[in-house]
Amino acid sequence: MSLATFVQQLLTGVSLGGAYALIAIGYTMVYGILRLINFAHGDLFMMSGYFMIFAIASMPWFIAIPVAFAGTILLGMGIEKAAYRPLRKAPRMSVMISAIGVSYLLENLATYLFTAIPMAYPEIPGLKKILTFGPVTTSLVTILTPILTVVLTILLLQLINHTKIGMAMRAVSKDTEASRLMGIRVDSTISFTFFIGSLLAAVGALLYFTDRMTVYPYSGALPGLKCFVAAVLGGIGSIPGAVIGGFIIGISETFIVAFGYSTFSDAFTFVLLIIILLVRPTGLFGEAASDKV
């Protein structure tokens, strides 16, 4: 493998990793606040792809993007309100089963409404622009994805660490009842978490599908699982962990494909999951439970 090919593959891997990272943040944030693995998150990402296809078919792209983002956010928050909130006092397993149900519902709904035939993802003007650096050629979206991921992560960390709503989110994630005693509206705080997770999934979908060019009802299933693994790898609950996990999985997958083992690229992710769970279940940045009682 020449240096140019290596750099080329690395760019592709970093870009894929960036999109994974944006989705993984959604898993990790929801887990942090609800202790729920939101299995519907990957399918929300898929729906976001469809929203963009239909939005851009009927309006200029600069309006279509915010419309598709808003659609994704409404759907994400709607899922929480309809499928998770009524189960707030139910055992955690019930909520998880509800999440799996929503996941299947979205996949089947998409198949019913849009058929299983892959639909072409629209080209956002400028995003596919080819850039050449000496022997390496790449597209704008490949460069833009990791940059946008890092910028959004920094903004998100600022929000969580330095604003009142961010503090409330951390408080609720630790102790819901004590939070209510402070006057924190727990449901609104959870809604806000889904708002952020859905927004990032929408950005991730835009970047991912621009690269992949088609959307079909199961587009979100495997990426969703991989991003869940990314979140576990980084230490579920940790935002920087999810981002780093996303990059690790994106880069590894790309190189495995580049070396000609594409058959194993998906298997690799799940072998990785098994290894983490065996060796270091708290992930790279996960905190061990050490609360003083």
Binding site: K164, E177, A178, R180, M182, K292
Partner: protein, 241 residues
């Protein structure tokens, strides 16, 4: 104790969990500016009573009013905006937040400036000021209790309810906690205190109630109860002479 002066009024409160009646129709009032204590052994229904006031438990029957307003239909998040706060059992500070952040969370629903109140709690608890940047989880149990009380004060409450503030603390720290309670009360805040440490609670309180299996069995001033034979025998560990 004139009825009109009561800040908090509880009438015929009944709390049930499944088929178990934890509180069986109790009535009492908390007069403005006083320290009232509810003592009794584990499972007597003290915590259930406090939790009903802040809406964490929905009573089966009875009424709870604060400054004349019915609290029963309000959610916890709203009740605490009315001037009631609770220091929960086991402190329940946010261990992942710094001391300063915990205090800001205590003032979460306030829109006005909190600088004065921060200064006030830092004067009351100088150790919290020294540790304001530490995560609350790194504090000792006593410091966490101080933080839980300080956090409650940040909402500028008229009534502070404390659920077993001395639980699990060393005797010297318990002394400190009770001094703080008296200090807060001197500054004009009404206190409803529930305790298994009946001795300290009765020394501190203006008046008290003894709860047994969901009922109030005795009431009186702190001194009267401390001298009561039954109370001495049951809760103060002093045998009849």
């Amino acid at each position: 104790m004139e009825k009109t002066e009561n800040l908090l009024e509880i009438n015929n409160l009944v709390v049930r969990y499944g088929g178990i009646e934890a509180v069986r129709g109790i009535s009492f009032g908390v007069p403005k500016g006083k320290i009232v204590t509810l003592i009794g052994s584990n499972g007597a229904g003290k915590s259930s009573t406090l939790r009903s006031v802040v809406g964490l438990v929905k009573p089966a029957a009875g009424s709870i009013t604060f400054k004349g307003e019915d609290l029963l239909k309000l959610p916890t998040e709203t009740i605490v905006t009315r001037g009631i706060t609770m220091v929960p059992e086991g402190r329940r500070v946010f261990v992942n937040l710094t001391v300063a952040e915990n205090l800001r969370m205590g003032a979460y629903m306030r829109k006005d400036s909190i600088d004065k109140d921060l200064e006030r709690v830092y004067t009351l608890f100088p150790r919290l000021k020294e540790r304001s940047w530490q995560p609350a989880g790194t504090l000792s149990g006593g410091e966490q209790q101080m933080l839980a009380i300080a956090r409650a004060l940040m909402s500028k409450p008229e009534l502070v309810m404390m659920d077993e503030p001395s639980l699990g603390l060393a005797p010297i720290i318990v002394q400190e906690v009770f001094e703080i309670i008296r200090e807060i009360n001197r500054e004009g805040t009404t206190i409803l205190l529930i305790e298994q440490n009946a001795n300290m609670a009765l020394q501190t309180a203006d008046c008290g109630y003894v709860m047994e299996t969901g009922r109030i069995t005795l009431s009186g001033t702190g001194r009267e109860l401390a001298e009561n034979e039954q109370v001495r025998e049951a809760y103060l560990g002093k045998a009849k002479e």
